[in-house]
Subunit: 365 residues, 2 copies
């Protein structure tokens, strides 16, 4: 089992009723180790935390030992399962620098990635197709540039970010709000398995912990804290992604946001962030420039160069809608050939047919 | 003729070879009036501007008197034609506060509008259909809120802004880079006539002045200077609209920019402005809030309320693409009826058919 020798003491300390993370950290600072806290005299505990603490310490909830056994069973159940405590040298250094670091992290996968240079990519569960494509492309480009992609395994943007990183052969870390043995949403089970193979699934919740809404903002704080910066691809106003962005800003990390149509509710949250000072980004280079202080090779651009598509019809179309007549004039192609090519491009998802006989390019991921 | 008594002197002063606006203003400050400058002794002129100035002053270009006669003929040719000099009490006060005010303005229309509270709306000549719709809607909403809409009569966003203002029965001012008697592009002739009827066409160039590329940045400086703020709706990088925005910022005016897709070259200029500190705006209220320090009634919103369309199919669709199956489930309508309605909406331009059998709303102006 990849758990430290003092795992049981950490686990029992955290199970002390009424003792939050902050209280536990205060006791650890005073006594030096979880074993010392658990063995402390009632008088010493009363002095530090009042009589209520003295009364509950060492009297964990009745189910504590069963949960501990379950946690140990999970850790022993497979290779690449780890428990990392706040006192562990492997504890993620950026997480340690934040206001509310978890005391215990469960990891399925490669723990060293938690210390890698990383960027969080988060956003709406109800993303638009273009938003999903953008998330994939940013993740792919940033992954190719050597960054680990952190996200929350949620539906929508999160899932697309993990997918993009995997597609690039890059490392990706999923911070989940359930126990490390659960996958939410269930349809991300295969994705979670692929992430665990080359990346890592991280949770501060015990194995078996189900989906609880109040855990998601807590999960978001870990996403923001693990990464050098957080990129919000699409977000509705008052959404969880904006919480992640705020926590990132509060932790002194960079916040990036992708702009979009003023008519798209999924872009409103990003626009609000930009107004509040988040950096508007149009592509991977914008993110890298801030995180690394350099402008990398053009090959790393997340967004395919919009002005020079390889296809002559797409090149003739550009990014504005155009009529068939205009395209005939621009390409000089025979009508039948051009129509056939337009249909191919439409079926391939590279082109949309708009009302009024107009054709418009779609930039896909 | 609606020209001041000293019009001839202003005209001749401006025609002095080699004397720019700045030189003319310096001489006016020294001598008090254009007549006094023209009558100044060579010694006095040499002292102020060197012997070259003394040699040319009072020796205007050979065509000067013919041009003056043409200008007087234009002014006398129709009612509502005016010449306003820097010394005129009717000179636009905001223009006077800028670094390089024109010495002479030709106006066709209602001169009092040049002193009205106004906002400039500018952007790309090669705008997208959505960009044009946005320009119209911002102009309409800001016009309904009582602001005069200033723009440049150019193709694309400028034209749409004037149209939007006219549609709202609001005042609009077109600052042109040609003489006040020319219309560029020619297809905006009818639009220019409508603007002159209820608004104003403004130029610092003599009647007869043709289209000269170097005049457009100069024209942009007047647009920026007349308005309390400049809104850029769509702009390519390195475009004239960005010059207008920069000049507005340098004159201490507000700069607003509309965000858009990261894949649209027409939004890149706006995104660059936002990065440089321009305010990202999603609707009319955002502009009014800054210019007036208030949030006006919701009825003034430029963007139709995206979340509550009157049509039940549009309501079911929302702002994300959806399949026919999804829409059948959401509306509960029979397939034939729903298909017919979708086609109607598509033909009406309210809906686009995307590859993959998806339908997506279009927000039109």
């Amino acid at each position: 089992m990849a758990a430290p020798d003092d795992f049981d003491a950490w686990f029992r300390l955290l199970q002390t009723p009424g003792l939050g993370r902050e209280g536990a950290r205060r006791l650890l600072a005073a006594f030096g180790s979880p074993e010392a806290v658990l063995a402390a005299s009632p008088a010493a505990l009363t002095e530090l935390g009042g009589p209520a603490l003295a009364a509950t310490m060492g009297r964990p909830a009745p189910e504590c030992e069963a949960r501990l056994a379950a946690a140990r069973a999970w850790l022993a159940g497979e290779t690449l399962r780890h428990a990392i405590t706040l006192g562990d040298p492997a504890y993620p250094p950026l997480l340690l620098q934040t206001a509310d670091p978890p005391l215990l992290l469960y990891v399925q996968g490669h723990t060293e990635l938690l210390a890698a240079e990383s960027v969080a990519i988060v956003g709406s569960r109800e993303a638009t197709p273009q938003g999903l494509a953008n998330a994939r492309e940013f993740a792919r480009g940033l992954g190719e540039a050597g960054l680990t992609i952190v996200s929350g395994l949620a539906a929508g943007i999160d899932g697309a970010a993990h997918e993009g990183a995997l597609a690039a052969g890059a490392a990706t870390v999923a911070v989940v709000g359930t126990g490390p043995d659960r996958v939410y949403p269930a349809r991300h089970k295969a994705l979670a398995r692929r992430i665990a193979e080359t990346g890592a699934i991280v949770s501060e919740y015990d194995p078996g912990t189900p989906v609880l809404p109040e855990h998601f903002p807590q999960r978001n704080r870990i996403i923001a804290a693990l990464a050098r910066g957080t990129l919000v691809v699409e977000a509705a106003p008052r959404s969880g992604s904006l919480i992640t962005a705020r926590l990132a800003a509060e932790a002194g990390r960079e916040v990036f946001a992708v702009p979009g149509s003023i008519h798209s509710p999924q872009s409103r949250g990003c626009h609000a962030l930009i107004r509040q000072g988040a950096m508007l980004v149009e592509g991977v280079d914008d993110v890298l420039e801030v995180l690394r202080g350099t402008r990398p090779a053009a090959a790393l651009s997340a967004v395919p160069d919009a002005d020079t598509p390889a296809d002559p019809v797409l090149a003739a179309l550009g990014h504005e809608p155009a009529t068939l007549d205009a395209l005939l004039a621009r390409t000089g192609w025979p009508t039948a050939e051009l129509s056939a090519r337009l249909l191919e491009l439409e079926l391939d998802g590279q082109l949309a047919r708009l009302p009024g006989g107009l054709f418009q390019r779609r930039v896909a991921g």
